[in-house]
Symmetry: C2
């Protein structure tokens, strides 16, 4: 696997005492029935969906993912890492570029909705509504609105909406059955934040030219390595072990700081994974524990000029994970000739990729000198195979971590209250009590 | 001013004991000579620069800001809030839209540089190099590279680069004088993270149609209100006072969570302001204190589906600041007719702006029910005037906060080590010692 300089910091804890517990967590993970572990092996099943969705969207030039949280963060991470920031504007020829992609449904801000409508052509757009239940207010409202627009344009909504939803139950599945919308199945035993390697992440990714087979292969190879080394310590275990010891030592913040510009959205995906999985009020025995480590998404070198001052000099309350790539898909040399700009001649002979990795190393160096724990995760380069590995790496890591602190890694009971209050405000039936509490709060 | 429901939380601290200290901080702020306090009053001076830069860029269709940290985060925040996410792709007629804008110089990732070159036309592009010194490696290297490309295209670099830099000293100023580049002055007494209302933020903003006069007016009105109420408590003081008490009570994380989609980059600007200003090793007497509160940029409702689980159930270690707008620039009603999608009829009669604010309120409600301190900052709407106020509000707030904890709010000594190590690695003269320490670290 691929960690180096792990857990550097002057107060590097000793893993020996923890080793049994770590190996136990690994064994449990391998033996446990967890839906997301299956996904890397399901390319053959997925392939049928991919062929079908390609045909269904053949006439379209744009897809819009109506998602929020676990139903779009993974897709955003893939899109940004593989296709980059300006993909929808690209002017050069590129085989990858089959359709434009946009994201909606993660806000009900009308200004954002108006902006999107300004740049897409509805009659050439397929909207993917990605929701297990179909009840999420942000997605329900944007779906209802775009659907109404489509109808008012005398287009057929069934030609412009595809659902990614539960195979059996829920509002969207019922609607699909009753009104004849195309629908793909989201695995019912995989939680949103673990669903990036399912239809949720991979159907949209496939439509923008991503090699989803390679993504699954990356995850699969990692999973097989884990199973092969069942009784042995490995990089993920060591990473989790050190992170756990630092966490128990009071480091309540976990910074994810890739240096590849395209991995910023990956860090946002990690933010959800780490926050929702670990942030829990009760442990598995029902004791009130209030566990949680606040994830921060950063990106280098940008945040050297924004956050590093704090990381180096502020309270020693965080662990940092750097991600770096050893190679670049498009390296660029610095100029040869500095005539008329001699002050910059010190850059001669270098290339940009090298600069980027120097910056990562000098940041890690300064943190280490200041006794701040940091780990560097190194991948060969940002491509589908390694991105698949990255996703799976952290899904496994958070499963181990949840096991060490004895909480349910896979639920999210703490968002029910605001969700129910929202239903109450909107007058949905059965939410009177929470509505009353909310009204009391508002008038206080 | 404009805070409401301030400092809600079951353990709301009492500000009475702190009042004298707060009023002292306010008095000190009013009396102190701080460069950034001058900026809201300098529109007349700025106007000359704006007229000049308009003429200089008349033939161009694109500007690229080569900045990093304090030299571009403010500009990004303005651009995103006022012009939105898809500004460069807009197809509809809009008087605002004079030039496209891109950002570079905040990374040396060659993949990001290649992406940018894919979507701009060099011969119609003006690059703004925004750096007081011109020595920042990220900006120096991207400038050198784009300059080389311009020359190789047989274009004149002086027609395509404008410097925003110190008025007297530094690499860029020297280059401007010697080689005849146009240059605008960045005030030498204003630090990067306080510079958004100077030429740094406002020259680029002006070129993309932002009403910069209104921005300054907003800040100015706020500043005058502060001065008028010299001896009185006010919303900023109360906000800072509560934040300070929570911080002293162990809340080492500060979440900035606007609900307007366009304010996400504003939250990133806040991240730098709060991290670099407050994160300090020593106090004003030289005692080692390691102060700092880690800022987290979030945005609602997205992060309800990513971070709220942790905020509600995890450790009670953070204070949250919500930002909401009472009105929208482009409100949209939900559909009237739900035929064929009856399950969504509960949305009828609502509009998107209303939904957005309900979501903010129900989140605040759930946090409050869980005893998590949160404050809601309410602005009438997202426009230039109120954005100017927002920037100034937090610049003042962080100045007060720094005063309360007795640190130097305006320096950033903690980034020197990595910067010097980088110069050492690149073979710049005078950095041998740090290079040696870095080499030792790498081989360890």
């Amino acid at each position: 696997m691929f960690f180096d300089k792990l857990g550097i910091g002057l107060d590097k804890p000793d893993l020996n005492d923890l080793q049994d517990k770590l190996l136990e967590a690994k064994k449990k993970f391998i033996d446990e029935k967890l839906g997301f572990k299956r996904l890397p092996y399901e390319y053959e099943t997925l392939k049928k969906d991919l062929d079908r969705v390609r045909k269904l969207t053949e006439q379209m030039d744009t897809i819009v993912v109506i998602g929020i949280g676990g139903s779009d963060l993974g897709t955003r991470a893939i899109q940004r890492a593989i296709n980059g920031l300006y993909y929808n504007q690209k002017t050069t020829e590129d085989d990858r570029h089959s359709k434009n992609i946009y994201f909606s449904g993660d806000t009900t801000d009308p200004e954002a909705i108006a902006e999107l409508l300004d740049v897409i052509n509805l009659s050439k757009t397929t909207f993917f509504v990605v929701s297990k239940s179909g009840n999420t207010v942000e997605q329900a409202s944007t779906f209802a609105y775009y659907r109404d627009l489509i109808i008012k344009k005398n287009l057929k909504p069934q030609d412009h909406f595809i659902f990614l939803t539960d195979g059996v139950t829920g509002t969207l599945r019922e609607l699909a059955t009753k009104e004849g919308y195309e629908a793909f199945e989201v695995p019912s035993d995989v939680g949103g934040r673990f669903s990036v390697l399912s239809t949720v992440g991979l159907i949209p990714a496939y439509l923008v030219g991503v090699d989803v087979e390679a993504m699954l292969k990356g995850a699969q190879d990692l999973d097989e390595e884990i199973k092969k080394s069942k009784d042995k310590m490995d990089d993920i275990l060591e990473y989790v072990g050190l992170k756990y010891l630092y966490y128990k030592g009071g480091k309540n913040i976990s910074v994810m700081m890739p240096y590849q510009y395209g991995l910023y959205e990956f860090a946002k995906w990690y933010q959800q994974l780490w926050a929702e999985s670990i942030g829990k009020k009760v442990d598995l025995e029902g004791n009130v524990v209030h566990e949680g480590q606040t994830p921060v998404a950063a990106v280098g070198p940008v945040d050297q000029h924004s956050q590093l001052q704090l990381y180096n000099e502020g309270p020693n309350d965080k662990v940092l994970t750097f991600i770096r790539a050893e190679d670049s898909r498009k390296n660029i040399d610095l100029p040869e000739d500095y005539t008329g700009a001699e002050a910059f001649e010190f850059l001669k002979g270098h290339n940009f990729h090298e600069l980027l990795n120097y910056e990562q190393e000098t940041s890690a160096f300064s943190l280490t000198q200041n006794g701040r724990p940091n780990a560097t995760l190194s991948i060969p380069k940002v491509d589908e195979y390694h991105l698949g590995q990255l996703f799976y790496f952290f899904e496994v890591a958070v499963s181990y971590f949840g096991n060490l602190i004895n909480i349910n890694t896979f639920d999210q009971p703490g968002v029910e209250l605001s969700k129910n209050a929202m239903y109450g405000v909107l007058g949905k039936k059965g939410f009177d009590e929470v509505k009353e509490a909310f009204d009391k709060y508002k008038s206080s």
